[in-house]
């Protein structure tokens, strides 16, 4: 793309200088230079905002993993146990639980542990729970 600010979907001049405030060199003063820098800057911000959701989820998973390993349970087993237990608490809430409510988090882990126990033949044949 041509990096020019004079086009459809262009950035207004005031905003260009507002964003370019504090940049290095002539980029903060000259519109022609500032426009290019600001376009790149805003473009990065735009895509990073999308990326932030993924990163946050990764962060939550990391923390849940560490917290559940304290109880001797893997993250993957925890999540599949919660799925089997039909629980819908998401990663964000689990992470907050692990940080602020250790007792309740342990209850959740215990529930997942219980669900991940190997099924005996009797319980596998027992259809009353459906």
């Amino acid at each position: 793309m041509l990096l020019s600010a004079v086009r459809f979907g262009r950035i207004p001049r005031e905003i260009v200088f507002a964003v370019a405030k504090g940049m290095y060199g002539r980029s903060k003063r000259c519109f022609k230079l500032a426009a290019v820098r600001v376009m790149k800057e805003l473009n990065h911000m735009y895509w990073l905002r999308k990326k932030r959701r993924k990163q946050m989820r990764i962060l939550w998973i990391t923390r849940i993993n560490a917290a559940s390993r304290e109880h001797g349970f893997l993250y993957s087993r925890l999540i599949s146990g919660l799925t089997r237990a039909n629980m819908a608490v998401d990663r964000k809430s689990l992470c907050i639980l692990a940080e602020t409510e250790p007792a309740s988090f342990k209850c959740v882990v215990d529930e997942a542990k219980r669900m991940m126990k190997r099924e005996t033949l009797e319980s596998a044949r027992n259809l009353s729970r459906f």
């Binding site: 799925t83 309740s104 215990d110």
Partner: protein, 351 residues
């Protein structure tokens, strides 16, 4: 091994059985190796390239890297007697007529590989019945299914506790709150500041003494909140382009949000968790017109006396107040509480 897989469809089966086919040589390792490996592993050497692969017991060996036939399958010569389309004018020598297998399958499938086996996904359906589990923290590592409710003697004790809960304020968003918290939720349709709203989808309730695990929700728990603000977030500049494309987009946007103050987390273990029936037709007249009527218009509605002596709109005689579309009352905030998936009591968005 120069067969095409189409001609020998049971090749894989054949390879699973020991001893291996003629050009797969099972080389006996020295005895110490066999004992170290449990005595079941062999060292399979392929004459061409697969040397050095140690294959496990019953491991599936296939020819070529793919288990499925490729899109351009190798050319297989027909027998000259069956090959009707063979141009006899081009046949000059005897070798042109000969059935040649030399260059047919060599390049695509000459390599022996270990077949990848994908485990089938464990099915999640049918789901278990929706319940919840009440866990006292005293008997914490619970190893058995827990009841939905504690003993009735503890009901009063439960209600007095300071609670926290995880509830859903929209289909996507969960919040962990206690009483007095302010949370930012998605915009609630047609709610003004100061209004009281109730959220019925509570995924987990906890306190110092106990935890109620919703599977997926706790049916007897609700969250009462006050709408603090119906507002907009700060302005975000959105500008994006992709290199070498002649387009760019610039816009400023502010997101509609609702700020909620949590007033109360209520547990009603001794009551029926079912919601009250849908609102009466008098309330639904707006929906009948498919828009929200102003007070002047509402006064023009023709009213008659109903069976129990109260005034009801005349339309109620022919319209019993059923939803014309599942979830439409919920969206307009007419139901007694907001319920979202995966709440079993949610009226719409079921899976």
């Amino acid at each position: 091994m120069a067969f095409c897989r189409r001609l020998a469809p049971n090749l894989r089966v054949a390879l699973q059985t020991w001893p291996s086919p003629s050009n797969l040589r099972l080389v006996e390792l020295p005895s110490w190796t066999c004992t170290a490996l449990g005595g079941v592993r062999g060292f399979i050497r392929h004459p061409v390239k697969a040397t050095g692969h140690i294959l496990g017991h019953k491991m599936e060996v296939i020819q070529g890297s793919r288990k499925r036939p490729s899109y351009m399958p190798p050319k297989i010569p027909k027998h000259p007697l069956q090959d009707v389309e063979l141009n006899m004018n081009e046949v000059l020598t005897y070798s042109d007529m000969k059935l040649r297998w030399q260059w047919t399958t060599r390049f695509s499938t000459s390599r022996m590989t270990i077949a990848r086996h994908w485990k089938p996904m464990r099915t999640e359906f049918p789901r278990n019945k929706p319940t919840c589990a009440f866990v006292w923290h005293e008997d914490m590592p619970h190893r058995t299914p827990q009841p939905e409710l504690p003993d009735p003697e503890h009901f009063e004790r439960i209600k007095k506790q300071e609670l926290f809960c995880v509830f859903k304020s929209s289909v996507y968003h969960q919040h962990k709150v206690t009483v007095g918290d302010i949370v930012q939720a998605e915009k609630l349709h047609r709610r003004d500041a100061g209004e009281k709203v109730v959220f019925g989808t509570v995924l987990l309730v906890g306190s110092k003494d106990f935890t109620i695990l919703g599977k997926p929700t706790v049916p007897y728990a609700k969250v009462k909140a006050t709408v603090e603000q119906q507002t907009l977030t700060k302005e975000m500049l959105a500008f994006w382009y992709k290199p070498r494309r002649k387009q760019s987009h610039f816009y400023r946007r502010r997101q509609h949000v609702t700020m909620l103050r949590i007033d109360e987390i209520i547990l009603t273990p001794d009551e029926d968790p079912a919601d009250p029936p849908p609102p009466k037709p008098a309330r639904l007249l707006d929906l009948w017109a498919n828009r929200w009527l102003d007070p002047a218009e509402k006064e023009g509605i023709e009213m008659i006396e109903g069976e129990d002596g109260r005034l009801i709109p005349k339309v109620a005689q022919i319209y019993d107040g059923l939803e014309h579309q599942p979830g439409s009352y919920h969206r307009r905030g007419l139901t007694s509480c907001y319920r979202y998936w995966p709440d079993p009591a949610a009226t719409h968005w079921r899976i």
